[in-house]
Subunit: 254 residues, 2 copies
């Protein structure tokens, strides 16, 4: 049995505790949080707000905000234990040298209001010691089918790429929904297109899947669409992304 202490009570902590509850050979022996607020969600597990009362465990997972990782890691009254964080953008070097270090980064977007099955979520692992990496691998494989060894530099770039394909993409969905709303068209009409666009990249590299007025350098449509955009930021985004697509495929001589 691998005993795990989770530190933090946010979305990632909650989703991990849920996933571990259904996994063979893993046991969350404690959830720690600085304040009582948040801990009420962990009814099935022992909880504490006292850092000096941390339980014995094989693995300590810091599932806290990026800027809290370094301070929390320094303040742990532990030494020689395996301590990992779950962040995409914080280097392994930010963990205190008092303990053995590692990363357990589930690459997914976690919302409070939306259930997620861990099985398909890639988990990116890093550790300085090969035994520790093996332990992390066992824990990751108990909840997910997609486990990768990714070093800190690669993880940083993955996190950056994720901002483009998740955060920025969602923002474009939102702009799409605003345009629909302003013209009294149900946004659901676009749902199959959104789904197909996302599914396509599993079979075709995005560079090959590109379509649309910018790809075709259809200047008439581009001008008409720019004119019809009311919001100046939407206009700017339209112009910049159109430009970027055009320069990706090479400007036609006009």
């Amino acid at each position: 049995m691998t005993d795990i202490v989770i530190l933090g009570a946010g979305n990632v902590a909650k989703h991990l505790v849920n996933a571990f509850a259904y996994a063979e050979g893993l046991q969350v022996v404690q959830v720690y949080n600085r304040s009582k607020r948040g801990l009420s969600a962990f009814k099935e597990n022992p909880t504490t707000t006292d850092i000096d009362a941390l339980a014995e465990a094989d693995l300590y997972i810091l599932a806290v905000a990026d800027d809290a990782i370094e301070v929390l890691s320094e303040s742990l009254p532990l030494s020689g234990r395996l301590v990992v964080h779950t962040s995409g953008s914080v280097s392994i070097d930010h963990l205190s040298n008092k303990n053995r270090k590692g990363i357990f980064y589930p690459l997914q977007t976690f919302s409070k209001d939306k259930e997620v099955s861990f099985e398909g979520i890639p988990i990116c692992l890093e550790a300085e010691d090969s035994g520790d990496l093996e332990l992390l691998e066992n824990v990751a494989e108990a909840i997910s089918k997609k486990v990768y060894h990714i070093n800190s530099a690669q993880r940083k770039s993955l996190h950056l790429a994720a901002v483009f394909v998740n955060n920025f993409v969602n923002h474009l969905y939102q702009i799409g929904s605003e345009i629909c709303e302003a013209n009294e068209v149900p946004f659901e009409v676009l749902a199959p297109l959104i789904e197909e666009t996302a599914n396509k990249v599993k079979e075709l590299p995005p560079k090959k899947a590109q379509t649309g007025p910018a790809k075709r350098q259809d200047i008439t449509t581009i001008k008409k669409q720019l004119d019809s955009l009311a919001d100046p930021i939407h206009k700017e985004i339209y112009e910049l992304l159109t430009d970027s697509i055009i320069s990706t495929y090479g400007r036609k001589e006009l």
Copy 2:
């Protein structure tokens, strides 16, 4: 039986002819194209390059490039027939008054290299005559479960929204894949995140689903990520979309 002539030999024409082949009560009696090139793909149907040899039909579908619609529609040696186009961005007014007019706009992205099932594709219909609208409805419902009445102004805005949620989104996927490639991380690691981001909007409005450094106004991460972007256009896109997200949710006092 509804007899249909398809004019055009591109992706939309091909996908429509395929879909109609499996539909009850519809028959593609002819495929017309200006040149022989392209017509070789239509082995199951009579074809012609002679506009004066167009077959008798209940419905003529112009599945051609946006800027070819008006000219082709004017040059048809027909009168009083139902002639529709398949474009998202061209008004019904661009069709010649010689014939009855309508729109049959399948809102999906069609690639040569990727099969598409029509069943889930929204088809947006418009016609000036209620009998024509009924005929179009029957044709659309024979191949799709999602049929909408959408007027020209609404269709224009849908097409614009589609550029954001499909063309621009795919371009962001491509930037993500370039970042991965530059750092030797397999792009497939991001596939579940891309899928989840797309699925999320079916359950949550995109405004509620937003996550990430811009949403949190996490200036430290934003600065670090901007610094790590090598391509100046990627940097500009990162800055503009971050700014747009921040102003959507209201700038925090810093």
